[in-house]
């Protein structure tokens, strides 16, 4: 398998990257770690005429902490965030999710923002970002804007990214003391795409459950604190409200059943972690 031909641009600054992207129009794509895009190129599911490599832009290589959140630049590799010393304290959900993201060998190259841009409906990083109530910073030559993660993902590998725009960074809200976090997943083998993945947050406002692999994008549900006998009905409602996909890996019915069981386990674990 060989990708179709493309021009390759290595900008020295973010402004140059944005100009090149604007000039290329719909034919341009950003390449960062390439762990989602290169398979698409190899299978010719993507045939951009121009690739713009952003991995040499120092401005995008930063993990920054502000008052209430963590900003991860577009050129930060997954393995770099995984090894970030404050991960367990500030983003415990990601500590739990990282072992499920691809393999050591793909996390070494793939970027956090690249996974968000790819928007696979079963991917762990988009799920975590949506569940935590994170946001995505987008930038084009003419403007900057910030959208919530929930608004950014609009469908199967479809996002709110406009022509000429790139992800500059993603923002994860920082974990608050006294909150609990949990992540669980079911796949055929470890490292495979999730059939269903669940992420949960338990805090003083109640519970949040994020679900990937079922609908065409990660979905998040807010729930009040639940007693043990209330989980079943709440999760059954969620399972039926999702537009569950049916494919070679699992039936829609099996996916709904996983939402009920895995969802309950994940919510309970998050509640236990809070206590």
């Amino acid at each position: 398998m060989k990708p179709a031909s493309f021009d390759f641009i290595c900008p020295d600054t973010l402004d140059e990257a944005l100009s090149a992207l604007s000039e290329a129009g719909g034919d341009g794509r950003i390449i960062a770690g390439g762990q989602s895009l290169v398979p698409m190129l190899n299978m010719r599911l993507a045939r951009p005429g121009v690739l713009i490599d952003i991995m040499r832009l120092e401005a995008l290589r930063r993990i920054e902490t502000s008052g209430d959140g963590i900003t991860v630049g577009a050129a930060v590799r997954q393995a770099e965030l995984e090894a970030w010393p404050n991960l367990l304290r500030d983003l415990p959900l990601l500590t739990a999710a990282f072992p499920w993201i691809g393999h050591v060998q793909t996390r070494a190259r793939g970027t956090v923002c690249g996974s968000v841009a790819h928007a696979d409906p079963s991917a762990e990083l988009p799920l975590s970002l949506v569940t935590l109530g994170g946001a995505v910073s987008l930038r084009s030559r003419k403007q900057k804007r910030k959208v919530t993660a929930d608004d950014f993902f609009i469908g199967m590998m479809a996002t709110d990214l406009a022509e000429g725009e790139m992800i500059e960074a993603v923002h994860f809200p920082k974990a608050r003391p006294g909150s609990g976090y949990a992540f669980r997943e079911v796949g055929r083998r470890h490292g495979d795409f999730a059939i269903v993945a669940c992420a949960a947050v338990a805090d003083d406002k109640g519970l949040r459950l994020g679900i990937a692999g079922v609908d065409d994008r990660p979905r998040v549900f807010a729930l009040p604190a639940l007693d043990d006998d209330q989980f079943e009905d709440a999760l059954n409602d969620i399972a039926w409200s999702l537009n569950a996909r049916e494919d070679i890996h699992a039936s829609a019915r099996y996916r709904r059943e996983l939402v009920r069981n895995l969802g309950r386990e994940t919510l309970k674990e998050a509640s236990r972690c809070r206590a």
Binding site: M1, F6, A20, G34, N42, M43, G49, A79, H103, Q105
Partner: protein, 170 residues
């Protein structure tokens, strides 16, 4: 701002197994094809070509990575190591390779170069790696004949040997 035209081949300078090299590649050429077809190092095997099987795993800047998911142009200035770098000379296997031989960690050998490069990176970074760490690194590789049990045994033996060696030298 360097712009490389699709119709031409462009130079890629990088370090390969400790030596500075310059190769010529079209933009669309994958690192796996650059290594095999342009440079002639066929130890890196190519299986699925979309990042699933792990056969093409090499080390880029010390970290295991899929050569089939890396464009040749992306390794400009990087340090790339392939399976050819492991044996100290053509007549002698590295301790990890020797352990694979002793423990029957390979049969047809197709997946072996990739597995060796992942485990070599693991044992360098984490000399105290145990069974779980080895299994975690192996999960990025598919082997369809030997099975994984003997591969894990080989890696554990190599890790132990490496630790003994370090104690002796200390």
């Amino acid at each position: 701002m360097p712009r490389m035209n699709a119709a031409q081949r462009h130079g890629v300078d990088f370090t390969l197994n400790g030596r500075r090299v310059r190769a010529e590649a079209e933009n669309r050429m994958l690192l796996s094809d650059l290594l095999r077809h342009e440079i002639g190092l066929t130890g890196t095997h190519v299986g699925c070509e979309h990042g699933v099987c792990g056969a093409c795993t090499v080390q880029i800047d010390g970290k295991p990575a899929r050569a089939c998911l890396t464009l040749a142009q992306q390794v400009r200035g990087s340090d790339v190591r392939t399976v050819e770098a492991l044996a100290p000379d053509p007549a002698e296997l590295s301790p990890l390779q020797a352990a694979f031989r002793r423990h029957h960690g390979l049969q047809c050998g197709f997946c072996t170069p990739g597995i060796l490069m992942s485990l070599d990176a693991l044992l360098r970074e984490q000399p105290d790696a145990g069974r779980e760490d080895i299994r975690e690194h192996l999960s990025g590789h598919l082997c369809r004949c030997t099975g994984y049990a003997t591969i894990v045994e080989a890696a554990l033996a190599a890790a132990e040997e490496q630790r003994k060696e370090e104690t002796t030298n200390a």
